[in-house]
Subunit: 190 residues, 2 copies
C-alpha cells in the first residue's frame, strides 16, 4: 500500500516534457520569453497542466536547474570513474562532460542557468553548491589549483559562448577544442 503511486507518475512523464520544453524555449527565444503559457504550448498541454506540475514559476525554474544538475552530475561521475587512477580525473571529467553532443544530451540543457539567472539570481544557489563540491574533488586530486581553475573556466567559457551563439570557433569544432583542453588537463602537474 505504501509505495504504489510511484508507477503512476512514471506512466505519464509530463514533468520531464515540461522541463524539456522550457529548455528548448529558453534556448530558442531567449530566457525572457519563458512564460508559463509559452511553456505549456511548447510542451503540448494547457497552462493549468503546467501549473499542476509546477505550482509557481519559481518552482518551475528551480525544477529546470535541479534537473540540469541531476542530468549532468552522473555524467561527470561516469567520466570520473572511468579515469580512476589517472591524474586530474575530476577536472578531466568536467571537461569531457561538457561535450553534450557526445552523450546525446540536448545542448539547450545548460540554458537553465541563464533562464534562472534572469528571473532571480539567488535561485542559482544549488548550482553554486554543486560546483563548490566538485571543486573540492578537483583539489583533492592534487593539482595546480590556478591552472585547474583556468581550464575549467575555459570549458565553461566555450559552453556559454555555445549557448549565446557568440563563439568565435565553428560549433562543430567545440568537441575538438575540448579534446585539446583534456590534453592540457592531463599534463598539469603540481
Amino acid at each position: 500500500m505504501v509505495e504504489v503511486t510511484r508507477t503512476d507518475r512514471r506512466t505519464s512523464n509530463s514533468r520531464q516534457d515540461i522541463l524539456e520544453a522550457a529548455q528548448r524555449l529558453a534556448s530558442r527565444e531567449g530566457a525572457g520569453k519563458l512564460t508559463i503559457e509559452a511553456v505549456a504550448r511548447e510542451a503540448g498541454l494547457s497552462k493549468g497542466g503546467v501549473l499542476y506540475n509546477f505550482p509557481s514559476k519559481d518552482l518551475l525554474l528551480k525544477g529546470m536547474l535541479d534537473w540540469m544538475i541531476e542530468t549532468i552530475a552522473p555524467l561527470i561521475d561516469e567520466h570520473r570513474d572511468a579515469l580512476e587512477g589517472q591524474p586530474n580525473r575530476t577536472l578531466r571529467a568536467l571537461i569531457k562532460a561538457s561535450d553534450f553532443k557526445a552523450k546525446n544530451i540536448d545542448p539547450s540543457v545548460p540554458m537553465a542557468i541563464l533562464a534562472v539567472a534572469a528571473e532571480d539570481p539567488e535561485l542559482l544557489a544549488p548550482m553554486r553548491a554543486e560546483m563548490q563540491a566538485r571543486w573540492q574533488q578537483v583539489l583533492d586530486d592534487g593539482t595546480d589549483p590556478e591552472l585547474a581553475a583556468l581550464l575549467w573556466a575555459a570549458a565553461d567559457g566555450l559552453m556559454f559562448h555555445c549557448m549565446l551563439g557568440t563563439g568565435v570557433f565553428p560549433e562543430e569544432r567545440r568537441t575538438h577544442l575540448l579534446g585539446r583542453l583534456d590534453e592540457l588537463a592531463t599534463q598539469i602537474c603540481k
Copy 2:
C-alpha cells in the same frame, strides 16, 4: 546673463545615465527585472523620459550592447598598442581588458550581454561581429588558433562566472588568475 542654471539638464547626458542605470539594475536584480519603469526609477526620471531617449525596449537593449562594445573596444586597443611587437598581443590584450577592476570600469558592464540575450538572442549580432573581427586580429598575430581560442574562452568563462556569481574561486583572485592566463598567452608558440 544667466544661462547656466538649468543648463545642467541639457549638459547632463541622460542617455548615458539611463544606460548606466540599466546596467546597474540588470546586475543587481537580474536581467529579467529590467523593465522600462525600473530603469527610469533607477536613472531618476520618468518612464516617458526613458522612452524619449530609447523609443522601444529593444532599442534600449541595443543601446546597452553598443555602449558596452564602445566601452571595451578602446580598452582592448589600448592594451594591444602597448604590446606592439610582442607575441600574441591581441589575445593578451583581450585577457588584460577583461580585468575591469584594473581600469575602474563598472564590473556590471558586461551584464548587457545577459540582459540582451534574455530579451532576444538575435540582438547579440553586433557582438558576434565584433568578436569575429577581433578573432581575425588574433589569427594575424600568428599563433596556435586552438590554444588561443581556449585561453580566450578561459577569460570569458571567468567573466561569466563573475557575472552569475557561480565562480569557484574567490572574486578577489580573478585578477591574479587573469595574470596567470596572460603568462600562458605569452608562452604560446606556433
